[in-house]
């Protein structure tokens, strides 16, 4: 190993001194963000739980105690027991734990795919509105105003009743059509503040095309809030999906979803109340963990809080 030059030693000393004083040096935005995130206890718990739930959903066919559509009429209404059916069985003798795992696949796929599609649509609309301004901006933002100022659940209900089918794709479509507004508004604000900055001006002076400026300069810099927002979208999408499925307009049986399991369960509250407890608990825990995760990411990525 070569001997350190005086300059290197000086730099090293400077870095250690600053680190001791708690100032971040020579670190990228992302590594600062990572450190701040790892200090956020609730966010770490939320992230871990979200990860565990995702793994459970992915591995459902291998770890579920039973095939998901197995009907066993000799074992209907079995109450939860640690030895046989951990969460009990339903009105057809199907294992509730198995169904919850498979339902988790559906709900999480809906959450993730909706988050991706909403971030894409929202970023596109937001950056177009923010970049071009003028009447394009006015029209798009009035549309956002409309969708933000009215309760959206009824709109989801009507759209869901219009579209045929009962699968994942349809629900993602329903959620995306009205759900992109928050992200669009966010991205537009970011683009507006970014587009007058020097590096954008420099790019333009060097002859970059508008598409290149949007894709290479503006969107990457507006990424952090979009990441935060889309994490929160995952939880929110699962919440709306489960509400729609509970109302009978979302995922249709026999495909299990946490929401439609609760729809059936409400009929058997007096005889088999455990049916109403577990699916809801899973919705609650999933949404809660994604919200914690999103909150931690916001604290970590928000430059206004940079120490």
């Amino acid at each position: 190993m070569a001997r350190a030059t005086p300059r290197q030693i000086a730099l090293d000393l400077e870095r250690r001194r600053k680190e001791a004083a708690g100032v971040a040096v020579g670190q990228s935005y992302w590594s600062i963000a990572r450190r701040r995130f790892l200090r956020h206890r609730l966010a770490l718990i939320g992230g871990t739980v979200a990860l565990l739930l995702t793994v459970m959903a992915l591995l459902a066919p291998w770890i579920a105690p039973q095939p998901f559509d197995r009907i066993d009429l000799t074992r209907r209404w079995a109450t939860p027991s640690p030895t046989a059916n951990l969460f009990g069985t339903d009105e057809l003798g199907r294992d509730v734990l198995t169904r919850i795992m498979y339902a988790g696949r559906i709900s999480l796929v809906v959450g993730y795919v909706t988050a991706i599609s909403i971030s894409l649509i929202g970023s596109l609309v937001g950056s177009v509105a923010g970049f071009y301004g003028g009447w394009v901006d006015s029209v798009l933002m009035r549309l956002v105003d409309i969708l933000i100022s009215v309760p959206t659940l009824p709109l989801y209900l009507i759209l869901a009743a219009l579209l045929p089918g009962g699968g994942v794709g349809r629900i993602v479509l329903v959620l995306s059509v009205f759900g992109w507004t928050t992200v669009a508004r966010l991205v537009r604000g970011q683009i507006l503040s970014l587009k007058s900055q020097d590096f954008v001006e420099a790019g333009r002076a060097m002859g970059a095309s508008e598409g290149r400026i949007i894709l290479r300069h503006l969107i990457p810099n507006a990424l952090a809030p979009v990441i935060v927002a889309s994490t929160l979208v995952v939880g929110n999408a699962i919440l709306i999906e489960s509400a729609l499925s509970y109302l009978g307009l979302g995922i249709q049986p026999p495909i299990p979803s946490w929401g439609n399991m609760l729809q059936r369960a409400q009929e058997y509250l007096l005889t088999a109340s455990y049916l109403a407890v577990f699916p809801g608990l899973f919705i609650f825990i999933t949404v809660l963990s994604f919200n914690f995760l999103g909150d931690g990411l916001r604290d970590a990525l928000d430059p206004r809080l940079k120490t």
Binding site: L42, R142, L143, D145, I146, I148, S149, V150, P151, T152, L153, P154, L155, L157, I158, L159, A161, L162, G235, L239, S242, A243, Y246, L247, G248, L249, L262, A265, Q266, L269, L270, S273, A276, V277, P279, G280, I283, F284, V287, L288, N291, F292, D295
Partner: protein, 328 residues
């Protein structure tokens, strides 16, 4: 101020018009128009009669002409007939509206009282165990699926607890009143008795988010110079908090309540469905299921009108309580 209000009112008008266009487009896209229904229920109808009926109802007109015709009749107070009930939509909505407002107003009042009180306490005891618990509970409240909370409350308060303890009152699991109750005070108390669970469920998300906002608003204000000045003058802590900090911290909450209204109305649809509370939310849900789109449309437009008005009121209230705000 006046100019600002006129501008805001126009903005609200644009939102309503935009929404009506959006809804009308959705409505037109739905399969099965009224004439198709008549044709389906009358097997021996002649094709030329169908055509005549279609022309009579203007179903073959271009969509924008249909929209203008529809808008004109709505503006003259004719919201059409309900397919399911066979009565004018306006008559159907009156009573439902009262029931929803009862639920909504009580929930907002409960949520505001609890949210503001707890938020202030939490802010004044920042980083205490209580503060931490409140923060976690607020997160829990926001992640709670409204309909599941309703189901769990029914389980706990109408089934489990009364089953376990004979002295525990059995809360009603749905409906608005016990049939055959005497009018007057007994009916009034019976109504309140039926409202407790749905109000608790509907108030949860508002409580959670207003607690969080009140907490951060209060934390922001107590750091301000004028609060320090108030302390330096030798005021009692109570006076500093109540007179100087609290009043200013409350200002942003006004806007927030108006902004939360759409979310609370979403919750009302679910709460009314779980507790079979005969309000606008349940009406809307049944209308969507029964393809009764005149009713769905009317409810939605009305709800949108309510939120737009609430926002306008919030703007006015904001200007009244905060003299720093000048709108021109």
């Amino acid at each position: 101020m006046q100019r600002f209000l006129v501008r805001r009112a126009m903005h609200g008008g644009i939102i309503l018009i935009g929404l009506s266009i959006l809804l009308f487009t959705l409505l037109v896209m739905t399969p099965g128009d009224p004439v198709e229904l008549i044709a389906a229920t009358t097997p021996d109808i002649k094709p030329e009669d169908v055509a005549a009926l279609r022309a009579y109802y203007g179903l073959d007109d271009p969509i924008y002409i249909r929209y203008f015709k529809w808008a004109r009749s709505v503006l003259s107070g004719d919201l059409g007939y309900s397919r399911t009930y066979g009565t004018p939509v306006t008559r159907l909505m009156g009573e439902r509206l009262r029931n929803t407002l009862m639920l909504l107003a009580t929930s907002v009042a409960v949520a505001l009282t609890v949210g503001i009180t707890v938020g202030i306490y939490s802010a004044l005891h920042q980083y205490s165990a209580t503060d931490y618990t409140v923060t976690v509970l607020a997160f829990a409240g926001l992640a709670m699926p409204v309909f599941w909370q309703g189901i769990v409350f029914i389980l706990i308060f109408s089934i489990w607890l009364p089953g376990m303890f004979p002295w525990f009152p059995r809360f009603p699991a749905g409906g608005m009143m016990t049939p055959g109750i005497d009018p007057g005070w007994p009916m009034f108390w019976n109504r309140i008795w039926h409202m407790i669970l749905p109000v608790a469920v509907l108030a949860t998300s508002g409580m959670a988010s207003w607690t969080r906002y009140m907490r951060s608003s209060m934390l922001e204000v107590v750091r301000q110079d004028y609060v320090r000045t108030a302390r330096a003058k030798g005021n009692a802590e109570k006076v500093v908090i109540n007179r100087h900090a609290l009043r200013n911290a409350l200002i942003p909450i006004i806007t927030l309540v108006a902004l939360s209204l759409p979310g609370i109305l979403n919750g009302a649809v679910l709460t009314e469905t779980v507790f079979s509370w005969p309000g606008m939310g349940l009406l809307l849900f049944q209308a969507v299921l029964g393809h009764d789109y005149n009713v769905a449309m009317a409810v939605l437009l009305f709800v949108a009108l309510m939120t737009v008005m609430a926002n306008l009121l919030a703007d006015i209230a904001y200007a009244i309580v905060d003299p720093r705000i000048r709108y021109d």
